[in-house]
Each structure stands twice: as C-alpha cells, then as structure tokens.
Symmetry: C2
C-alpha cells in the first residue's frame, strides 16, 4: 500500500515513536523530573495521547491553535510557552482555561495585567510560569531579580495562579540560575513550585535536575538530521521520513527529487558546518545540496550506486517540526499493520 502512494509523502514509523517515547520518559524519570512533551513537533492528538499514557504529566504547546486541537481531542493539562498577547488570543485563552488545566508563560508586567484582566473578567484562571531568558536571547526576563519581581506581581493579580518559571535554554551552570531565582522568590514570600526546562539534547545530556521540576522536549519523538548530527539520536531512531521520487537524472552526478522547500522546508541543520537539506536513507553518500520549491537537487557523485528515475527514496529532514508543518496528512506505519493516513490536526492553522 505504501509503495503505491504518490510522493512526496510524510510517513511516521509508530514503532520508532514508541521507542523514542519510552527512552525520553525514562530519561526524565531517572532525573526525578516531570515530563511535558512539546506537541509542536507532531501536532497529532494520537501521539500526544501516547506520550501521556507513557507517563507525561501533560503537554506543551507553542501556540493556541495547537492547544485548541489538543484540548478538543481530550488532552487536559496544557502549558502554552508563548506570550499570549492581544484581544483575539486572550479571548481564545479564556475559552481554553474553562475547558482544561492551562498554564502559560509571561515575561512582562503589562502582559501579566492584560492576561489577569481577561481571565478575572471571565471568572476563570490559568497557571503562570515566569518566562526566563537563560541565554537564548528570545523572550523572557533576564535576571533572577526581574523574574521574582514579575512573580510578585503575578501573585497579586486575580485570574493568575503563580506556579514558578520556565527557562530556555536549560541553564548549564549547575543550577546556579535557578537557585538564585528561588532565593529571590523566597525573599518575597513566594515559591517556585514548578521550574520547567527543556530541549531534546539538553534532557539527554542532563546529569542532575539542577533545581528543575519538569522538562519539555519535542523533537525526540520523531528525530531529524539536526538531532542525529548533534548526537542526541541515532539515524535508525528517526521516525519521520519524507518519501520522494527521483524524477530526473539530467547528469550522472545529479538526481532531482520531487521534494523541495515546500516538502522539506529551508530550515537549516542546527549545528555548525552542516549544509544540505536532509539525509537520503537509501543513498547515505548523496547530498541534497539545494532546494527549489518542488525540486530537491541531489549530488550523487559520491554514491557507489546511483538512483534511477522513478525510484522512491526516504529523506530524514533537517528539522522535523518544520517539515510536519507543511503537510495536511501524515501516513502512520507500524510493522505488520496496514498504513493509515491521518490529518495533521494542528497544521496550517497558523494562528
């Protein structure tokens, strides 16, 4: 059945998914940490449910669309790690807070006040984690003192339930940042009951909890070229493949796939010194050197045998989360089962 399907086709190996879920859950449990997988990678309630069944305390979403799709499917404990700002998003959050246990991150007093006003007016509440920038340079307060001052405000505001903090990335300072923040909290009579760090590579490298109580990770469930290159995962544990057809062999050194930037994304490998756009499983020496929108330009000059026109190959993309976001449908594979096609519940829903 799978061989008859047209390409490009996004496939997920559920046996590999189950192995990946078990390995990450075991890693978090061994550290004594609650695990809260990030669903931005798969956007599928079916996979989220397996993550929770394996021991996750709940899920992490990067946007309200993902939270809506997951809560619609029965997931009931959701952390949204993105600033909920603006009237439309606040309205949507209020609706979600009435239907599930929801927590959010906040990084500024104004945002906290607007969040409080919206939730209190609706007679509901959310948990709040202070978003701490521990070196990434994105959102987040930038010092333990700033974190505690914002926490003190949150603790006073109706509709908000102060729970703790999130860090990104997970601090590599042996817990000093988190310890300092806990002290600043304590000095104000506050408690950081929940301290959430994360990342697939960070969690696999962690040797002590360092003050965290919870970890978030997303990509571990599927894997991708970035996580093979950085050593977090083995190529054979990558569950997500883009099946593509060789549609042209204009020269002996060049093969063209029917998978370009609209099937693989232009997302780079997140590691220095790696170019290219994915790993071709059947031709490990091939280099996907350039992407047009619908064409993958592959240099096959280093391959001992070379693909023919019409051949179907499997590509492990640079970035699983970005690739999934391009597809309306994913085909689920399991040894011994008939392949099943499923809608990607939370994709294309950009808001």
């Amino acid at each position: 059945v799978i061989d008859a399907a047209d390409t490009p086709q996004l496939t997920v190996d559920l046996d590999a998914v189950d192995r990946n879920i078990a390995r990450m859950q075991a890693a978090a449990s061994a550290l004594g940490l609650a695990f809260r997988p990030h669903v931005k990678t798969h956007k599928l309630p079916l996979v989220a449910a397996r993550q929770v069944a394996a021991g996750a305390v709940g899920i992490t979403c990067q946007k309200l669309t993902e939270a809506e799709a997951m809560i619609d499917a029965g997931l009931d404990d959701v952390l949204v790690t993105f600033p909920v700002v603006g009237v439309p998003k606040l309205r949507r959050l209020v609706d979600l807070a009435r239907r599930a246990r929801v927590s959010v991150t906040v990084d500024a007093p104004t945002a906290a006040r607007q969040l409080s006003a919206a939730l209190a007016a609706a007679g509901t509440e959310v948990g709040v984690l202070v978003d701490c920038d521990t070196g990434y340079g994105r959102t987040g307060v930038r010092s333990p003192t700033e974190a505690a001052e914002l926490a003190a405000l949150v603790a006073q505001l109706p509709g908000l339930r102060l729970e703790g903090l999130t860090t990104y990335p997970t601090p590599t300072d042996g817990g000093a940042w988190v310890a300092a923040t806990r002290e600043e909290f304590a000095a104000r009579g506050l408690e950081a009951r929940r301290v959430s760090g994360g990342g697939t590579l960070a969690t696999y490298r962690m040797t002590a909890a360092d003050g965290l109580t919870e970890v978030r990770a997303g990509t571990y469930v599927y894997g991708d070229r970035t996580h093979v290159v950085n050593g977090a995962m083995r190529l054979e544990d990558c569950a997500l493949h883009v099946r593509a057809t060789v549609v042209s062999r204009p020269t002996s050194d060049r093969a063209i796939l029917d998978a370009g930037s609209k099937a693989l994304t232009n997302d780079p490998v997140e590691a220095d010194g790696y170019g290219g756009h994915g790993i071709v499983l059947e031709y490990p020496d091939a280099v996907i050197e350039r992407l047009s929108e619908e064409h993958g330009h592959v240099d096959v000059s280093a391959c001992p045998t070379r693909p023919e026109v019409g051949e179907v190959v499997r590509v492990v993309p640079n970035h699983a989360c970005g690739a999934v976001n391009l597809y309306d449908r994913v085909t689920l594979l399991r040894a011994g089962d008939v392949p099943r096609e499923l809608m990607v519940a939370a994709r294309g829903c950009s808001r």
Copy 2:
C-alpha cells in the same frame, strides 16, 4: 474587521494584485508573447481567473495538486512544468488530460515513453514541451541537439503532441540557444511552435522576444522582498503581507513577533548580501534577524520609534510562494470592501 483578526494572518491586497496583473500582461503583450502565469505563487483559482481574464492564454502549475485544484475550478489550459514520473502521477495526469487542455515538460526518453504508454492506453493525449536546461542546473536536456533528439522521439510516440520547448532560465544570449534548437528541430522535420521562457525579473528585463513565443511568471502577482531587492517590483506593489503581533519587548533593542519560520518560512532572499527574513512595513529600519518556529526576532535598534507590545505590524516575506504554502487561509482585502477569508485551494496538498 481586519484589526480584530488574530495573527499571524496572511493578507492579499486585491487592488495591488490587479495592478500587478495588468503590468505583467502589458509587458508580455508588448513583447508579442503569450503569457501563462504560474499559480504556484497564489494557489487560488480566484486569482488565476483574474489572470486569464486579463489576457493570459492559460496557467502554469508546478505540481499535479495545483493543476487538479485549478481544473476543478474551471481553468482549462494548464502547463505542468515538472517531470510527471511514476504510476500514481501518471494516473492523475491521465485524468486531468481528459478534463482540460494539458501540456507537460519532459527531459528524458524513458520518461517520455512511460508518459506515452499511460496516455495512449487511456486514449487521450497531452502537449509536450522539451524541458531545456539553459543554465540553471536543475532538470532539462543540456544542448539543442539533445533537445531535438528527444523531440523526435516525442513526435513518434502516441499520446504525446510535440509542441516545442521550455527554457529555464530564460536565455540571456540574445536568442542564440533557441535559434540553434529551432534549427536542430527543422533538420529533423520538426517545428517548435511553442517556446516558453519565464520568470518575473526576466520578463520585466526582456527587450526582445528572442525566439520565445510564451512567458511564464508567478511572483509578480504578489511580490516579495526578493523582487523588491532585485528591482523587479516596488515595495508598495507587494500585495502579500503577514500581519504579526509584537508579543514581547525583552530589551529596548529587541522585539519578538508571533511570526516565525512556520509563518514566514526560512526561505532566503534570492540575492547576494541580503540576510534577514522580511521587511516590516511600519518599521522599515527593523531587521528580522532570526526566526524560531513561532517567534520572529527583530532588531529594532535602528528604528527612530520602536513598536510596543500588542502592536500589529505587516511583514513582506522574503519569498511569497513559500509563505503562501504555509497557510490554510488567506484574507482578501480591497479598498472599500469587507475583508473576505478564503481557503488556499492548493496548499498542504504536497503531492
């Protein structure tokens, strides 16, 4: 209404679209060329119909999914500029050939024979243009002689109607490549009635038809940062915007938008020396320097006034075609009209 919509939101200014359609159609007509717009940019039958109403002879599609969506909507003359290879795609092409006037490109004898077998068995036919690589290094035969030899094969095969050739890019040799190919065709008793070149910038720069009979262009209809940077279009003619909200201002120099790589793509500007991920219309000195999946990291240090949290801005993306491909819905704007939300007919349909 538009102000109340949540972000990121993809909007299209139909007044600008109409101006862009008129300008490109006039440019092609002035050169004496048939114009065949590429729908991969917009993926909307509504826009394709306006292009045809303005004088286009038909449309160009980059994949069968686009052709299916357009023929379903009543468009009846479609060129598919992608190798149709493999049983699933051949079956789909046969179905399309029964419903509309379809032409395709071919760059190899094996592909031509398989195409012929599928179409002849179904008792239908398609027009064929020999795909010529005139310097891009993607698909295509690589010399006038090779083009003519493939054309001679096509002319003999049932189910195929030899029409001419496509070039990519449009040759800049004053017509020498096309003239040489016509001679090689003539030496074999063949005629290249249709010679199709293309590209938005190439068409606007063209001063003579140079042996072409038809041009294809896609991005001209919406514009993007690449086409502002390369001089093909003015910023005020860019019809496609991603509305985004400033969700965090962690430092005085940094603003974070709710539009990252899943709202803008990581597609680069196709011009040397330009980094960044789009133009912020309201803050032209701002630099979108980095994208996370859902965050746009904006350096606002060069801006005389700086955006506040909650402010909505409009971003002209690097690459219109890639951005459109990320969204299920687009909001159509026209001066004096209520905004209308429309499904992007051919997106998410990766095959």
